[in-house]
Symmetry: C2
Subunit: 700 residues, 2 copies
């Protein structure tokens, strides 16, 4: 940026006169200065937020322009990135305004001095301030932008120009010299707070300008929100905790469905659909179970204006909906095993702060429910399903997982035992439950009276399992792979695996376009899901950002130079590495995609493995935990002990430096693959004899 | 049955003595008489209904056994089919009891005279009535049954024997001579009423005995309920209007999904998922529209014990949920057309009597929503989709449909115009709307402010369509094809297309089984979805009924005779026709399945075509309508006229003889394919100039 501000100072001379009062005059001037510009017309806008509703097609950022006055009657025009914090307090401080007071200048002054309309003011208006009565103040942050958006003397249109073009313009009207460039970043902290709050507001959610508004490091929550909204995966919705799954994410869910659905059908599972509604009586049949969900259950109490005779619950899960039917269907051992599954929506009205994909009040999942004659048979299936879940994550989403069994405290309410797959969010080291496969034992069969007659006509209760995989899968995938450029999609689930971006040149457009189409057909023939971005209203740079944001694994660039060499330039989204590939070698793209898939998994696995730390005592445990790791410890398996760990880990971490390090740790699982407990090995926390090794972490 | 009752009278002699007090003794006696029997143990049952909970595995019917006493102190044991109407009034009449009074006999008499326990009495107990103090009365209907179910002197078990076996037993204990056989069918009418009421009760719904309890002609509602429950398509649920879709029906829905989903994706439609919940504000945005659904909307007002700040509706359809997002996504003509679809559940809390598949309070559907730059483009899509819907019915479900446009009164609330496909339920001639494809015009885009800029930067509202297909498809298919043996499935959607039933013979079981397995592999190789029913606890007859009830298109029988001739016997479910096919010709089965598919459609089409009657005046209209037809008439297209037709058709049909002929007629659609209106042609009802031809009918 220093380079650019110097540039401004170097242009002291030219003092041409000019007057700009409408869009045409602005555009004419820009044209005359060879400043490239694009203008979009829109309804009258009075605020930046309204403006953002219409400028999504632009790569540049909207500038907010403030016309101010200080106590001494001095006027200022402030142009700042719309996200820059510019309270009057800050401005006064920054402007060194005597008395530290600045306020909005009266509208008539706006017209008198700058010939501008309210809401339509911008640096362009400076062209009308020949007496230099208005001090121009530019947010230093602006100089970091490639493109900026300004109103061309009207608030019914917005014009995009390269930031460099602003310098050219200011120079042209002789206002570059006295431009005051201010660095607001000193108020970075305030700004972050601001952004956090803003993130929660509907308006910010609707911000659809291209590019992420912050990095993971700056504000992880905001970064995640940006990645999933700007990539086109999620649209926020006006009911808290509910989100719109757009095609870019739903197609990933469809790929997960196709794989898993095929596999369970091979296991003899049949798809069904049970009602979404459950009567209070049925819901309450299994007490332990209902306790686990009661506070989160949504109740329908009226239709139209008519109150229902008794309230009806919406399923948080379907055990209590399905099992009365199981009791009817199962009579003899010949009716077993009974294996059904459904793909559906469920509702859990959680109070915790909702997060798209990870914690939502309505979500999509499959729930499998099976009944078996013996515990042995049920137990085998529990692990078969868990393996299929692991395969969804590792083979489709390139996310490594740890398989294990839940502790008594963490297991499914009303179940016998719970197995799960767990993984880590690399940025903050938090654990997240990726999927669960429960053995329900006979708890439910006894409550719902589901029994059968064995060969010897003896009456026996069935052994049951239930298992579920949700759209959380997608959120985990996003958090594990994505970066500060946006989404990074594993090729096997990417809706688009490769995008072709033609690099047009004057008079060569047709030539490049035709060759691009040939390349497109060529690649399509290899079975790759390919798109050709032949839009001519966006430049290649914009398209690069656009498709990187959307996480497309491979970008294929082709311009005249490449055509001359019968090649294309291939850029990998995951590594950013690029290489030239001759047209004759395009058939290797499928192999490259598989390579990318493998590399993404390997990278994630390397990270996870390196962050599972072994600890045998409390001190080591706490250090490892607070360094954003999972900790594997010998454990006594006692509930009291886990409760103590939760309490201590929270208490004793309060003083620790760094972010994301507070909160209590819990058992994620007891991994199936672990070294046997040695003779005399003690629990890391309480010192009681260890029974098993547990994997601990802070979790979502 | 006359034959059988004679059989009873022929066996006057044998007068052996015997005492039966428990299950063992009963079974020993049956064995000694070479009467084949099967017994199932179950918890103690006090009523027939409780008994039905456990006897679904049997082909036979449960008999109810009443121990009664009349005024003169005469005792009776009545054994009747459990569905036979046997009020004391009827009994008294039938028994010719003086004073016409019969009542339940005291329990101690039950023990004293028959050595039976309450709830466990049956004809077996007659063995203990050596003084013949108890008159045995047998429902004539019993003699029409193949098998009957009786308690073997205990109400914790049920025994199935061939009806012929009862005669053998009665003869053996010397009670065949004085058995009084009564025909209750004189009370047929009462019985029907009874059955109708019963159909509505939860208990009857749960009846899972094999075989339909009545014919279409006897009680259409009950027949339909039997077909879908006993075939394993539907399980009733304890919340009215909600039903369980079992694999036998859900797999058909999956086949519909696979076909249609693939076709709309080829049209560029992308799948999404929008929240199920909608705020009151959003729901109310389009007034006309919401009026159409308001009374049927289910409202969530609390979660757990906490009331929501404002009630949230469950989608009856998603226009008002999706379109605010459309307004954000659509900015320029380059964002058009926007085409999204979702497969989901919706809730319409209708007050009309619910019918599984046809009218349910929660149902599954797909809803497509698209936005276009021009009406022309939208209009083209409306018809493309309608054609795809027609193809689902005609090519998959073998159900012929009529394509046309809805009248103003019948169109979608808030829409511009509605097209639909309509078909007829053959039994009662009622019309049923099979699917709808709506052009919404700009009504919604203006309400939700969905506009774009065309090339000339002019702001224009988009033109929208929405279209939906529901699980109603399955109910229509059931009603169009099924018969009094049960379901008849079109091969293309049948979960199982062919079932192999081995006919076992003593000492030849293995041989038949092995060959059956070879045949199974053979057929599987041809791509046919085939099952081998190798269960040895059911006889072939039971299996024939079972698979006919489930509507499997082809039955493949193979016994020793067939093996000798290297052939199988093939029986078509749709026609009942059978033929022998040599093993070498098994590869022709796919062709046969396609033939069955074609024949089913042709048959249904022939019926529909023959029942679309043309009428040009009211008299002819009413006659044709009341003869269970659709009526095609010249029409003025005025709302008042349609209202009048509704009123008149209902009023003037009240006197007409026959069933299903009351109620008002309405326009089903105005068929796209129709003869042009002639110069001076008048509306059939009001005489105003006719504008178009309308298809009228009574509808579901």
């Amino acid at each position: 940026m220093i380079h650019i501000s110097r540039a401004i100072n170097r242009r002291l001379f030219s003092m041409e006169r000019l007057r700009l009062t409408n869009q045409q005059e602005v555009e004419a001037t820009l044209a005359s200065l060879n400043i490239p510009f694009k203008t979009i017309q829109h309804p009258e806008v009075k605020t930046v937020k309204e403006c953002l509703e219409h400028t999504g097609v632009f790569a540049g950022k909207v500038l907010k322009n403030l016309f101010l006055k200080d106590k001494k009657g001095k006027f200022y025009l402030i142009s700042a990135v719309h996200t820059t914090e510019t309270s009057f307090k800050t401005l006064a401080k920054k402007l060194g305004s005597t008395g530290g007071v600045v306020r909005e200048a009266p509208e008539e002054k706006l017209t008198e001095l700058l010939a501008a309309v309210p809401g339509g003011v911008s640096p362009f208006a400076l062209a009308n301030d020949h007496e230099k009565q208005v001090k121009f103040v530019l947010d230093k942050e602006v100089l970091n932008l490639q493109h900026i958006l300004l109103h061309p003397m009207t608030n019914t249109a917005t014009t995009e120009i390269p930031t460099e073009g602003l310098n050219t313009f200011l120079h042209h009207i002789g206002r570059d010299e006295d431009t005051l460039i201010i660095d607001f970043s000193a108020v970075e902290e305030e700004k972050k707070e601001e952004a956090k709050k803003a993130a929660a507001t509907e308006e910010e959610k609707k911000d659809t300008t291209l590019g992420l508004s912050c990095t993971q490091e700056e504000n992880y929550a905001q970064w995640y929100s940006d990645v999933i909204t700007k990539s086109g995966m999620i649209e926020y919705y006006d009911i808290s905790g509910c989100y719109i799954l757009r095609p870019w994410s739903y197609e990933i869910w469809e790929r997960i469905q196709n794989k898993f659905d095929k596999e369970i059908k091979e296991l003899g599972v049949k798809n069904t659909y049970f009602p979404m509604f459950v009567s209070e009586a049925a819901l309450n049949t299994e007490k332990e179970h209902v306790k686990g969900f009661a506070p989160e259950v949504a109740w329908v109490t009226k239709n139209g204006e008519t109150p229902l005779s008794e309230p009806i619950a919406i399923r948080p899960t379907s055990e209590t909906i399905m099992y009365p039917a199981f009791a009817k269907w199962i009579r003899s051992h010949r009716d077993l095993p009974l294996k059904v599954n459904q793909w559906c929506n469920v509702v859990r009205w959680e109070f915790k702060h909702p997060t798209p994909f990870l914690r939502t009040r309505e979500f999509l999942w499959q729930e499998g429910h099976t009944a078996h004659a013996t515990l042995e048979e049920a137990a085998v299936e529990v692990r078969q399903i868990l393996d299929l879940y692991a395969s969804v994550y590792e083979d489709l989403l390139a996310v490594p997982v740890v398989k294990g069994q839940k502790s008594e405290i963490e297991k499914f309410a009303g179940g016998y035992y719970t197995t799960s797959i767990e993984t880590m969010i690399p940025f903050n080291g938090r654990g997240i439950q990726a999927a669960t496969s429960h053995c329900l034992g006979q708890n439910f069969s006894k409550m719902f009276n589901i029994w059968f007659e064995d060969d010897s006509k003896e009456k026996k209760f069935v052994w049951q399992n239930s298992w579920g995989l949700t759209t959380r899968t997608i959120g985990v995938m996003v958090m594990v792979h994505s970066d500060n450029k946006g989404l990074v999609l594993p090729p096997r689930v990417a809706p688009t695996q490769a995008v072709i971006v033609p690099i047009f040149e004057k008079n060569k457009v047709e030539e490049v376009l035709n060759k691009s189409r040939e390349i497109y057909d060529e690649i399509k023939r290899t079975g790759v899901r390919v798109e050709l971005d032949d839009r001519q209203n966006y430049n290649p740079g914009w398209k690069y950002n656009h498709w990187e944001l959307k996480g497309v694994p491979i970008r294929v660039e082709i311009g005249m130079k490449d055509i001359a060499k019968s090649q294309v330039r291939i850029v990998r989204r995951d590594t950013g590495k690029s290489e030239f590939v001759s047209w004759a070698e395009l058939h290797t793209l499928p192999a490259l995609l598989e390579q990318i898939q493998a590399d993404m998994l390997a990278k994630a696995k390397q990270n996870l493995d390196s962050r599972v730390i072994k600890a045998s005592n409390w001190a080591d445990f706490l250090v490892a935990l607070n360094a954003k790791n999972f900790v594997l410890t010998p454990w006594c398996q006692r509930n009291e002990c886990e409760e103590t760990v939760k309490h201590r880990s929270a208490e004793e971490s309060k003083q620790t430096e760094g972010d994301h390090l507070t909160g209590s740790a819990k058992t994620l699982c007891q991994p199936f693959e672990q070294d046997p407990i040695q003779e005399g090995e003690a629990c890391f926390q309480c010192g009681e004899p260890a029974k098993h090794r547990a994997l601990w972490g802070r979790s979502y």
